[in-house]
Symmetry: C2
Subunit: 500 residues, 2 copies
């Protein structure tokens, strides 16, 4: 196994270098002074260049081929074979794209970001459209290099959700859409819920202390991570033993930091939970962005917005913000934190409307990619879908098709992973309580270990051994499906809004 072992050593070096880059990214968003930006982008470029060169070098190819020859007699389910399958997948993809295209995309993304910021400020799609055309064109080229069987969009989706096709995602979404639209409609007709209590004055230090208390209770290990303040909340990992999250505080909107922290903790628990024996191996990675999102959504929504969760934590919350929530009952608070309201901005959407925002983007992206939707016509198409799915129409493009950063970074194919994750969160949770019914009682008692242990066993420790579809099939004995999620929504929000 000499080649295998040498290959893994080489990959470890690439991993360490990549993680060094991740530390730079964390610093950039948390602490870097403004003056550091220019030099930082040079550091990213150099690290990106070296990691790419090292990975695509002929030496890597030689070791990979040698290693593949060494493991032919091992079981296909051996770690060695599983490892090499993923490395082969990554290698074949990495060498397909010409370096010149990688550089051009990186350069155009850099330029597009500034233009998008300005266009959003001015709420002027026309400013952004030419750059988007360019990025779409380069992404089409990239997709052609990567290759696909059915739709061009599949090649891009595959980068974030390996092995999944857009037709599969479409089926899942098509099964979900009618039920979602009906639920939104029914809720709109029901007596509204107020979330005014969440908009009172919440001291930032107390918010920080409370959210750290909560995520510590959920199982986030502060000796192997930390939480900092950043403009955009995110989770980043420099290996299983240093997984950091960030949050932002809004004095007059409690959920921003609190629910955001629980969301990022879901991501962090996944990364902190990879198998210790996999340290430094390609298996010590997430299966996909969708699986990642299933963890964050599960903890944020299914656990963190449940009545049993607030049964446990609401008295503590009231105590930590003296006088602020004295006249708000647990039930009022629970209803407030689950208020459903069609809105324009995806990142602020509730559990029910969120996926409709994603479906809209998934459909527009595909249409742009296959050429059936012209960039100039995106605002109109966007607004039409908003009307049809959510019954509201943005007043301007800043509230509409210019709101997300993703397209300016050429992240086509990324959005569907958000919904896939959301849908999977319910499917996985359903399986967890079927496997271990005590989890429900444990959660009611504020004991999160049994749920976490189930996730550790079935999702976290396997790491990147399987493609996301394989992983779900292994865990649930069925492919990804949306009825678990729809059942969850109908049951929870039916009760909340008194629907029949």
């Amino acid at each position: 196994m000499e080649n295998y072992s040498k290959l893994l050593d080489r990959l470890k070096e690439i991993t360490h270098l990549g993680r060094a880059g991740a530390v730079l990214g964390w610093d950039q968003q948390c602490y870097m002074p403004p003056g550091g930006a220019e030099e930082r982008s040079e550091e990213f470029a150099v690290i990106g260049k070296f990691t790419h060169e090292l990975f695509t070098a002929s030496e890597t190819q030689k070791l990979l081929e040698g290693a593949e020859a060494e493991v032919t007699n091992l079981s296909p389910d051996s770690d060695e074979r599983l490892t090499l399958r993923m490395v082969r997948r990554d290698f074949d993809q990495a060498v397909k794209i010409p370096s010149a295209l990688v550089s051009e995309l990186a350069r155009e993304e850099g330029l597009a970001h500034e233009i998008w910021v300005k266009a959003r400020q001015d709420s002027d799609w026309k400013q952004f459209a030419p750059k988007l055309e360019k990025l779409l064109d380069l992404s089409r080229q990239k997709a052609e290099y990567l290759g696909y069987t059915d739709r061009i969009y599949d090649a891009l989706l595959d980068q974030y959700e390996p092995g999944r096709t857009s037709a599969e995602v479409e089926t899942v979404f098509n099964n979900l859409r009618p039920g979602l639209v009906k639920l939104v409609h029914d809720i709109a007709a029901a007596p509204p819920i107020s979330d005014a209590c969440l908009r009172r004055d919440f001291d930032e230090d107390a918010q920080k202390a409370f959210s750290e208390y909560v995520i510590g209770r959920l199982g986030y290990d502060f000796t192997r991570g930390r939480q900092d303040k950043a403009v955009h909340p995110f989770c980043t990992s420099f290996g299983r033993n240093d997984v950091r999250i960030t949050t932002r505080y809004e004095k007059n909107w409690l959920p921003s930091s609190l629910m955001g922290s629980i969301h990022e903790t879901g991501h962090a628990l996944y990364e902190q939970g990879f198998a210790p024996g996999d340290d430094g191996s390609p298996l010590s990675n997430s299966a996909s962005l969708g699986i990642h999102e299933s963890q964050s959504r599960l903890w944020e929504n299914i656990v963190g917005r449940s009545r049993s969760f607030w049964n446990i934590f609401y008295p503590e919350l009231q105590q930590r913000f003296p006088g602020v929530l004295d006249n708000i009952s647990l039930n009022d608070f629970y209803r407030a934190i689950n208020r459903v309201e069609p809105s324009f901005i995806r990142v602020e959407a509730d559990e029910v409307t969120y996926n409709l925002h994603i479906m809209l983007r998934f459909e527009l992206e595909q249409a742009m990619m296959d050429g059936s939707l012209k960039v100039a016509d995106v605002p109109e198409a966007w607004n039409e879908k908003m009307r049809s799915y959510l019954g509201i129409v943005p007043e301007n493009d800043a509230q509409g098709c210019l709101q997300d950063v993703h397209w300016s970074a050429a992240l086509f194919g990324y959005f569907p992973t958000y919904s896939l994750g959301t849908i999977l969160s319910a499917q996985l949770y359903e399986k967890a309580i079927k496997d271990n019914p005590a989890i429900t009682t444990d959660l009611e008692n504020g004991a999160f270990e049994s749920l976490l242990e189930w996730l550790r066993t079935h999702v976290h420790r396997p790491g990147r051994r399987y493609l996301p579809a394989e992983l779900i099939e292994r865990i649930c004995g069925e492919p990804a499906q949306s009825h678990s999620y729809l059942n969850y929504l109908n049951s929870k929000f039916g009760a909340l809004y008194g629907l029949s």
Copy 2:
């Protein structure tokens, strides 16, 4: 100039990679959770390996030789020639030491650190002695590879103070020692000064706010840097536009953070002050550790412990700590912050006794290196010199020869740069006010720009164009000398202690 330009591009990449490593170091000391330590050391190792490989590669040599041929017709004082002189120096040194020795030293240093920590805890030299023997032996090998003309110690000193010999340093120290010892003696016989007022309760947040106010006034640019909390104060740079400092707060010892911040700001002003046109070039570096320390000492002591400085800042200090210093006059405070007292621990020493601590180490290091002092005899030799220079003898080795981390990291030859810097601070300051007498008045008025501008012009912007001895000769028209420093001390402390 094709080779020259390609060489500089290559060196830039190495610089960016090295700076990425510096960011990791900063994070490790400021924010990294304990779990991150193991992975971090792997990241350092990989970055260290790649930078070393890239720099010593035959491609670098080829470009360097080609570039040298391209610049032969340029003036020796052209930036191109000055640049290549330094690159040649670094390259020749880097390729002289076999990789195996570099690795062995790194490994032994890693091991020695833990052993030193334990030995210092137990105050037991015998525990540390065998490791020190080993490190001395490897350092001797390293010195032999590097080469030297006169003493073996010169090869090691040259790493921190390029071009300086130990004989030169010895001359400077020999000229300083008698005057210093006499001054210590005279002060011991004078009525003592109390520093009790510095040991009152100083709120940490107020300390932070005040020290940031002070260093901002001195010229530290917070848009190109930041100050964080760390166990050990330090300054680190990721290029001229991101130069960070750290500090530690002691509630009952005001100078720890306040004077420490000013010290680190001295380092930071140097790094922030490199010429903008040198960005990314090997010239955008400090001339030596001694020159670096001249900047920190100048701002900390000559400026920050002067009466005119506290004339300006003392009322503000009193105001920011309400009630704490109400009954302390400016004069009492000024005397307290300049109290002289022979003490065991170098890092806590005052301006007068500090250099005696360094001379002791310089002498012992040389004797260990040339074999005239056995490692087993270090404690006795240490204590004897403490008695002779400072009139006090440590009660144990923790207070004596085990106090510093340097030897456990094989940093032989490093200590003298602290004293060289201290001595140079007075020599440079003397020249500054000779060149621009208005500086004195400006400082009395709390205007620091004229002093900073003089330093920018003569020390900072030249960066690494010259060897430290050349730089001092160019600025002062004379070599490094100690009488400026001795005059400064005699005049300041003569007045403070009422000496005749």
